[in-house]
């Protein structure tokens, strides 16, 4: 089980802060997160920059139980 924490407009759209899913890779975690959020596919989540345990990750990055993912929507300056 990994924890997927949502940030940015993704979170406002989802109305949720986090979900927990079983997944072996980031791509799988995005698919299952999309399903948990009731989205038809992982499309919107592909817009996110993904961090796994604090490190920037790609879609094929492997996951293990207890990992924490951050999904960040596009941002710029402030």
């Amino acid at each position: 089980m990994v924890t997927v924490r949502l940030f940015g407009t993704l979170r406002l759209d989802a109305g949720r802060r986090q979900v927990e899913v079983d997944a072996a890779t980031v791509a799988e975690a995005l698919e299952k997160t999309a399903a948990a959020l009731g989205l038809p596919g992982a499309g919107p989540l592909l817009q996110a920059a993904v961090f796994v345990n604090g490190e920037r990750a790609g879609l094929r990055t492997p996951l293990k139980a207890g990992d924490v993912l951050y999904l960040l929507s596009p941002a710029a300056g402030g």
Binding site: M1, T3, R5, F7, G8, T9, R11, L12, A14, G15, R16, R17, Q18, V19, E20, V21, D22, K32, T33, A35, A36, L37, L46, Q47, A48, A49, V50, F51, G54, R56, G58, L59, Y70, L72, S73, P74, A75, A76, G77, G78
Partner: protein
């Protein structure tokens, strides 16, 4: 003096507060083409009037208020005006920008700007109208907060006021117009030292434009572009500037505990998402802006702590959701919500996760007229001084319940507040700890921890204003917050810093908000950070130093960038020939003029520096890349700028930029 260009009222006034004489300050059309307006034109005026080091609180200091040609034309994100002076915090040229309505009203009064000299013998407020300038007794306003002052002044006017902090010469006192603030570098204290409580402008004039039809279509198209872009149309309106906070934490860029770390465990309790979910009533923002990244929130009552928001961060079970995102509801008084900088400097940087308290403090600091960045940075430094036994002051990280009283004490210079009102550099000169006084040239650093974005660190060090993210060139946007080039490499950072600094300088001179420039990042790039294109661009960026340096040297870019309609809009409004190269050249001229004034005021290469903590202490222990390699980047930056190794612009550069002939003494 009239002008052949649109966008200008053709009149700049000089107001001598000592003699109460008002005269026209001559600005030629050639100068308008060279300097455009805003902070660049202000730098030119100060270069003419400031001949050497001076007491920023003395009558010899000069305040220059300038608008840009786009101010008041209806162009999107273009309500900005600028206030420049010699900063009591840095002793150098400072410019502070604001999106309140004062600039618009100043132009309605038929005025492009003001040059204010001298000192009034008693508190005054000055009224600028179409038919002239009037001086009013402000003794009944003295002591009032910024909100009280604005309420007491005539309605339906543009106002620019100080609060108690400015009156009491707190070195980081700011100016307030509506609910927007020209906060940085202490120009509010210069107002106070001049006994100037407020400027009020009103009139009915309309800003003339060169090509009315073109202006209309350009503005319409520009606004549509802004609304369609993922940053200005989605991220900023929905999350405000604080929407960056989570990403800064993820990238170790979040200034925490006086910049000793780049991450804050409880960051989500103070994130833009939590602000939107729990406190946002509606968007707010600058006059006439279609983006509205500002927040309007209800003022939380005392005791409405962070517990609820923090509790939502925990959660287990699969797959399931946690966190209701329920709003607290629009109870209480509606106030402006805090920006990212305020939240970080009063939150993680003090080890504080109480967002309702930060909302209250933000409002209090606005009322007192005090810069929240320098306030938070100075207090964080005082906390660390206390922790290290260098100054026993009772202040501790994470113990923030008494801060409102401390803010009042600073604003009124009571007790230790009198020392804190001097800023962190002066505290370090008295108590030691300069290596962890997080300031550059005396100005406290904003929210970005530069050991995780070393180009941002270079920008901080060389910035004319001192520790400022915007005058720095804001490379953090390329180093993680928008694009994701290697944040630790020094490669290309000098060239990109110079390019960004010059463009931002020029955008500001036009009267435009810097956020309008985010649209130059194609949506396709931002929306697919994991895609091939984004990855290729991020890989390529550290290798663009050479080509960018060539473009910088040629100063020839006869193009209009898609995503930067500003150049087209400037052509339509002013009638000037404008393209990307010309715009960038105006910025470069401004940056060098500011540097020249600073050189005259005593700045040297030694002042282009960072606190030792950022250069010598690894942010991630054992990883030497997590320090700012300042020296090589700075050398390269000086070379690209055309400055000597001592950081002085060369005569050849000044001739090339047409500064030397303009500023004859140099």
């Amino acid at each position: 003096m009239t002008t052949r260009f649109g966008g200008y009222m053709g009149r700049m006034l000089k107001i001598d507060l000592t003699t109460r004489e008002v005269s026209e300050y001559p600005i030629s059309d050639e100068q308008r083409e060279l300097y455009l307006g805003g902070k660049v034109l202000a730098a030119r005026i100060l270069a003419d009037l400031i001949t050497g080091p001076l007491d920023p609180f003395g009558p010899e200091n000069v305040i220059v208020v300038t608008t840009g040609p786009l101010t008041g034309t209806g162009a999107p994100m273009a309500s900005r005006f600028n206030v420049s002076s010699i900063s009591p915090l840095t002793g150098l040229l400072a410019s502070s920008n604001c999106g309140g309505s004062f600039g618009l009203h100043l132009k309605k009064a038929g005025c492009d700007g003001l040059v204010i000299t001298g000192r009034a013998d008693a508190p005054v407020w000055v009224e600028i109208a179409e038919d002239g300038v009037r001086f009013h007794d402000a003794s009944d306003l003295w002591g009032m907060t910024t909100g009280e002052t604005q309420a007491a002044l005539p309605p339906r006017t543009g106002k620019l006021v100080i609060g108690p902090a400015g009156e009491n010469r707190v070195r980081y006192a700011g100016l307030v117009s509506d609910d927007r603030m020209a906060a940085r570098a202490g120009i509010g204290a210069v107002f106070g030292a001049k006994n100037l409580k407020a400027l009020v402008a009103h009139g009915r004039k309309v800003v003339p434009v060169a090509r009315q039809e073109q202006v209309r279509s350009r503005i319409k198209g520009w606004a549509q572009e802004l609304r369609a872009h993922p940053i200005t149309g989605n991220q900023l309106p929905r999350l405000g500037t604080a929407g960056l906070l989570a990403g800064m934490h993820a990238r170790r860029m979040l200034a925490t505990r006086n910049f000793s770390r780049g991450q804050f465990e409880r960051f989500d309790a103070v994130s833009g998402e939590t602000l939107a979910e729990a406190h946002l009533i509606r968007n707010g923002g600058c006059t006439g802006c279609p983006v509205h990244c500002g927040r309007e929130v209800s003022l939380p009552e005392e005791g409405a702590g962070a517990g609820a928001a923090e509790a939502e961060c925990a959660g287990a079970g699969a797959p399931r959701a946690t966190g209701s995102g329920q709003k607290a509801g629009p109870k209480g008084r509606r106030v402006k919500g805090p920006e990212l900088e305020t939240i970080v400097l009063l939150g993680p940087n003090l080890e504080n996760a109480d967002l309702p308290a930060i909302i209250r403090w933000n409002h209090l600091l606005d009322e007192l007229g005090m810069d929240s960045i320098s306030t938070g940075g100075t207090i964080a430094f005082a906390m660390e001084l206390n922790e290290k036994g260098l100054w026993e002051n009772g202040l501790r990280f994470g113990e923030v319940q008494d801060l409102p009283r401390l803010f009042e004490d600073i604003a009124h210079r009571r007790g230790i507040g009198d020392l804190l009102a001097e800023g962190s550099r002066r505290l370090a000169e008295r108590f030691g700890g300069m290596g962890f006084a997080m300031q550059v040239k005396g100005l406290e650093l904003p929210a970005y921890e530069p050991r995780a974005a070393v180009g941002q660190g270079l920008g901080y060090a060389v910035s004319n204003r001192g520790g400022c993210h915007l005058n720095a060139g804001y490379l953090a946007v390329l180093e993680g917050l928008g694009l994701e080039m290697d944040p630790q490499t020094p490669r290309a950072k000098a060239a990109l810093t110079m390019l960004m600094q010059d463009l931002m300088e020029a955008i500001s001179a036009a009267g435009n908000c810097l956020f309008s420039s985010y649209d130059v990042f194609p949506a396709a790039l931002l929306n697919r950070p994991n895609g091939l294109l984004a990855r290729a661009v991020n890989r390529l960026l550290p290798w663009v130093g050479g080509p960018v340096a060539l473009i910088l040297w040629l100063r020839w870019m006869p193009i209009h960038l898609p995503g930067l309609p500003l150049t087209h809009a400037l052509e339509a409004v002013t009638g000037m020939k404008m393209d990307l190269g010309r715009l960038k050249l105006i910025g470069e001229r401004g940056y060098n003029l500011e540097r020249l004034v600073n050189t005259r005021l005593g700045v040297t290469a030694a002042d282009d520096d960072l606190p030792e903590r950022l250069k010598s202490v690894e942010q991630v222990p054992g990883d030497p890349r997590t320090r700012v390699p300042l020296a090589p980047m700075k050398r390269q930056y000086y070379r690209l700028r055309g400055w000597t190794p001592d950081g002085v612009p060369t005569p050849a550069l000044l001739r090339r930029l047409r500064i030397q002939r303009e500023v004859g003494a140099w």
